[in-house]
């Protein structure tokens, strides 16, 4: 019996040495004369244990990690003899960090071979689409609406309503566009699912296509993700070969074609109308809404544009039914959210769980605090446009409305942890700088305001008329918030104002003259 060894090909695992480990395993197996088969998978998301490798045993897959190339010989020994090893983590599925999760979207990620359509189908893939094909458009729309799924790209708009609008629109052509621009710092769930379970994204998009009557789809992937581009292209090819893309999908009367397009390093192209402009071959400048993309989208045609994770949630909803999905979550946030723990964190990675878990649980308990061992001071949730939360707000439950009520956003579910060495003036300045660099230039508050914001915070840092300049920054933030066309200019005030509000001590130290006078 050949030993089956699983090594992730996920970019995170590769960045910490997974490819070197594959070479080392091949070498050891050859010298030992024991045949092995190496399967490259996605990542299970326990990133502090990457590279995490697994071996198939009669009791299930046994995991080891984090493995370095020097460990491979002894790990191999342990695998072959089923003996102990310092890096042995036991049965992978039983690892507590994994067991605590509710994996609806990421169930297969890290488990299957992402290049193999057969493997995908053997693990329940395409069940959702098969059911969708038997249901018809109206019933699918009812299911997606009843699931309560809200777009995972940030704004949280109900997916069912969006699809219905496109389904009802009359046009000679309609499009499905997958927003895989994932430019937010601290987020990598889109990348992981594209690299670890690409057929899931294809299945979700195909379901959208048959529901609304679209015949062509595009996946717009940022250029910073070459591995995801490669994985999606390989999967599209395999799906075509297997009859799941092209004419007569799964033997039906529906036809749907899919193409990957690569971005060119512009954060604003994640904004949906800017993305459409970019897909059309133009500068990624935000369009005013209305008209909505659902009516007037790509090349002027009705278009469904959704985030990667929104599409990836669809197959489960159709295979298991809307209720099975909606039963998870709290309030108007239904189902699960793949939460991404990043930055200065001991146990960073992807944790999929129902909405409602608190920020403190995520950071302290699941994330295990900082890796520097210093106290957690600030946590930015929701990417560069998200607010910085102090410890005093750690009781906030992960829920769209609960975060909004505290002047924050969950965005794409990224959490970036900072320890007590963070200088919040620098973070506030960075937020403005980022907006200045990435602004599409269409509106003045964003284009000019962000540049003035950098200068003014700079002055505060240099101790120039601190009180007046702080007031000026707040005023500027208000102008940006209410005068910007899109969320880049409109939400940059969130990180800036939250830093000012919750970490005021960093900005306005008691003037030395006052201290002397006391």
């Amino acid at each position: 019996m050949k030993m089956r060894i699983f090594v992730p090909r996920d970019a995170t695992a590769v960045a910490v040495g997974a490819d070197e480990i594959v070479t080392a395993f091949e070498r050891v197996a050859e010298t030992r004369g024991l045949p092995i088969e190496i399967v490259r998978t996605g990542s299970r998301g326990l990133h502090w244990l990457e590279p995490m490798v697994e071996v198939a045993t009669l009791k299930g897959r046994v995991a080891y990690g984090p493995v370095s190339a020097e460990d491979v010989a002894s790990v191999f020994e342990s695998m072959a003899s089923n003996g102990p090893h310092a890096l042995r983590l036991g049965i992978a599925d039983e690892i507590p960090w994994l067991k605590r999760q509710t994996r609806l979207t990421f169930a297969r990620c890290g488990v299957i071979d992402p290049r193999s359509l057969e493997d995908y189908r053997a693990h329940g893939g395409y069940k959702g689409l098969e059911r969708a094909l038997s249901l018809g458009s109206d019933t699918i729309l009812a299911e997606v609406t009843a699931s309560g799924l809200r777009g995972r790209g940030g704004a949280g708009f109900p997916t069912g309503i969006k699809w219905k609008t496109v389904a009802q629109a009359k046009a000679d052509r309609k499009f499905i566009v997958c927003n895989a621009d994932e430019g937010d710092s601290g987020t990598f769930a889109d990348r992981m699912i594209m690299e670890g379970d690409p057929f899931l994204v294809i299945e979700g998009m195909t379901t959208a296509a048959i529901t609304v009557g679209a015949t062509k789809g595009y996946i717009y992937i940022r250029s910073e993700y070459p591995h995801a581009v490669e994985a999606m292209n390989a999967a599209i090819k395999a799906a075509k070969r297997g009859g799941y893309l092209g004419d007569k999908i799964g033997g039906s009367t529906f036809g749907f074609d899919l193409e990957v397009r690569v971005g060119a390093g512009a954060y604003v192209c994640g904004e949906e109308t800017s993305l459409l402009e970019s897909l059309e071959g133009r500068r990624g400048i935000v369009r005013a809404k209305p008209p909505l993309p659902a009516h007037h989208g790509l090349f002027g045609k009705p278009t469904v544009i959704n985030n990667v994770l929104s599409f990836a949630a669809i197959p489960f909803i159709l295979a298991e039914g809307a209720k099975a999905y909606a039963d998870f979550g709290m309030g108007r946030s239904r189902g699960t959210m793949p939460i991404q723990l990043a930055g200065n964190i001991r146990q960073g990675g992807l944790f999929e769980t129902a909405f409602g878990v608190t920020l403190g649980q995520l950071v302290d308990d699941i994330g295990g605090g900082t890796f520097t061992g210093r106290p957690v001071r600030a946590v930015q949730v929701g990417g560069p446009l998200g607010a910085y939360f102090p410890r005093t707000l750690f009781d906030t439950p992960f829920d769209y409305e609960a975060f909004a009520a505290r002047d924050g956003l969950i965005g794409h579910g990224g959490i970036v942890v900072f320890d007590d060495s963070v200088d919040m003036r620098k973070q506030a300045r960075f937020a403005m700088e980022f907006c200045a660099v990435e602004s599409c230039g269409k509106c003045t508050p964003c284009r000019i305001g962000s540049t003035r914001g950098v200068e003014t915070i700079e002055k505060i840092i240099n101790g120039e008329r601190v009180i007046e300049n702080l007031a000026l920054v707040e005023d500027l933030c208000n102008t940006m918030k209410f005068g910007s066309l899109c969320a880049l200019g409109g939400f940059t005030p969130y990180p800036v104002l939250s830093a000012l509000k919750h970490f005021r001590e960093d900005f306005a130290p008691i003037p030395t003259t006052l201290q002397a006078a006391e």
Partner: protein, 166 residues
């Protein structure tokens, strides 16, 4: 055919050649909204987008030169001139900042004697900022000619810089 975008570890580019450029443009011009696809393909072949290619693209897509030039300059990825022999990108976004990325970026600048966004005088290394590689859980992160590196620390950075300088 879709543009194949593969990370290449040993960048090697062709010198600009009009016939070859025209060929590349023709290969993709039939796609809807092909501007970015073509600019990527040109850069993939030549290492940058030669000035001379802009009017060619405009003609093939029935656009004005200004439009194509506008697209070319809007996106951070497209180069006006060839990069150094190696390109070292350091992530400057928040998760990497939180994990000590600022100090590492300053160290790389000092070691190479150039600031982010520039190429060393001997044309060997281009040092660039990048805003998130999606490796934020093993931050800080870097990319050397398409190869990803996570859990960057001083030792790993020094090795990367040395490799880039070779």
């Amino acid at each position: 055919m879709t543009a194949v975008y593969e990370p290449s570890c040993e960048p090697s580019y062709e010198p600009w050649d009009e016939t070859r450029g025209a060929e590349i443009i023709a290969e993709h011009a039939g796609q809807e909204g092909a501007t970015l696809v073509i600019l990527h393909a040109l850069q993939e072949a030549f290492g940058y987008v030669p000035e001379a290619a802009i009017p060619m693209v405009a003609q093939a897509l029935n656009l004005s030169r200004a439009e194509v030039y506008g697209v070319f300059t809007f996106y951070h990825d497209f180069r006006h001139k060839p990069a150094g022999r190696h390109v070292l990108k350091l992530c400057r976004a928040e998760a990497c900042q939180a994990a000590g990325g600022d100090a590492l970026a300053a160290r790389a600048e000092a070691m190479l004697g150039v600031s982010l966004g520039n190429t060393t005088a001997d044309d060997r290394v281009t040092l660039e900022p990048i805003y998130c590689l999606g490796l934020c859980s093993t931050a800080p992160s870097a990319m050397l000619d398409g190869r990803l590196v996570g859990r960057l620390d001083e030792k790993r950075l020094d090795a990367l810089v040395a490799e880039a300088q070779r």
